[in-house]
Amino acid sequence: MSSLGDEYYDIDAILAEHEKVPGRFNDSVGAELNLTGEGVAVPSGTKVELPYWLAESLVEFYQRDETLFDMETPRIYNNRVRNAIIAGPTSVDTRRIHPYFHRLGIKFVQKFEQEQLAQVLKLSFRKRLYMILDHAQTVLNTDSSHFTRKLDETERQLFKLAHDSAMAMKSWQSGSKPLLQSAVSY
């Protein structure tokens, strides 16, 4: 899991921000800017889908008290998804919704301060973390791929942390090699 100081190099951040999000241009944009990748001019009011990393920057531009671009809530965080999570957080296949479901959601919520979505993400996170730790602590031998298949990237990394820790403990408990090499010591 990358920490705050490493974001520049974080491949997961790069991949997560590739996701296309819907939005609308409030002003016309010339063809030479090639914003949508199609090399055409974009008239004011056009609805488009842009990669998150681009949309995130565009909303910072102001012209005459209006932002150049308004981002809408991505489809993957719509009401249907939110309700599914509230109804059964541990049954949702977050990976199928998006491999970076939590990661992108957190970025979105931090940028746009959406309280309700933040609460949903918190709930999802807490309940699913319990499920993840439970699995990591109690299911030690078998292959867990059927379990991790329904976890998004963030959750998989968290599962790995818990799982590795549990395996190290198990190894220690069954008599692993001592730390120091001398004949009698621990």
Binding site: L4, Y8, L180, S185
Partner: protein, 229 residues
């Protein structure tokens, strides 16, 4: 970097320190040293940033190990009983050597990870030992050469800076002071308000263990009021 050379090159047994050890005045001092080194190592492993180098502690313990090493060696040529005692002395020495080595390796890891950052911050730089500072400089040079050779030179002139900053995203790795640590107080010191979240308090006491943000207890750690676990 050979950590053993750091260990061995700082050994310098003077007449006076040997005498100090002989008279037993060192006893209390030495007891604190091993326990203290253990906690210092634990703190360094757990802290996201590099902590001030504990030169006196490392040097004193290194000296004691060297001296004890000679004592143990002498014992090996005597009877079975002496050989057994030597083996026990050896066991203790291995433990202390492990502490010091791992302490130094942990610091090296942070130096390699945050080279540019710490070379640009005088307040962080002064936490390094002289040897560590030299190492940081050579490592930075090595990295610069490597990046230039491998791909930076192929980019347009304006893109060749190995340290770039776009808004808040910097290519210079920086220790994450917001990362979580596990901490407890060293003595009963009452309640303490968290810097980042004024309405939350923790109790400073050896019985009270918390996970908090490193930045919230950074100063307390510096002042020796808490220890990391």
């Amino acid at each position: 970097m050979d950590n053993n050379s750091t260990l061995n090159s700082s050994i310098h047994i003077t007449q006076s320190s040997e005498a100090l050890y002989e008279t037993g005045l060192d006893d209390e001092f030495a007891t604190d040293d091993v326990a203290e080194m253990t906690q210092i190592w634990i703190n360094e492993r757990n802290s996201p940033e590099i902590l001030p180098y504990r030169r006196r502690l490392v040097e004193d313990l290194t000296e004691l190990i060297e001296h004890q090493g000679m004592v143990a060696m002498e014992g090996l040529s005597e009877n079975v009983d002496m050989r057994f005692r030597s083996m026990l002395y050896q066991t203790e020495m291995e433990r202390i050597k492990f502490l010091i080595r791992n302490y130094l390796r942990t610091r090296l890891y942070k130096i390699e990870k945050y080279t540019t950052y710490l070379l640009n911050r005088p307040d962080v730089r002064e936490r390094l030992s002289d040897k560590e500072y030299e190492y940081a400089q050579s490592y930075a040079e090595l990295l610069e050469k490597h990046y230039s050779k491998s791909f930076l030179n192929t980019l347009p002139q304006s893109q060749q800076d190995v340290n770039e900053k776009i808004n808040t995203l910097s290519s210079v790795s920086v220790p994450d002071e917001y990362s979580a640590v596990i901490v407890r107080g060293k003595e009963e010191q009452g309640m303490f308000e968290l810097e980042s979240r004024r309405q939350y308090e923790i109790r400073l006491s050896p019985e009270s263990i918390y996970m908090v943000r490193y930045s919230d207890i950074k100063l307390l750690l510096e002042e020796g009021q808490v220890e990391l676990i």
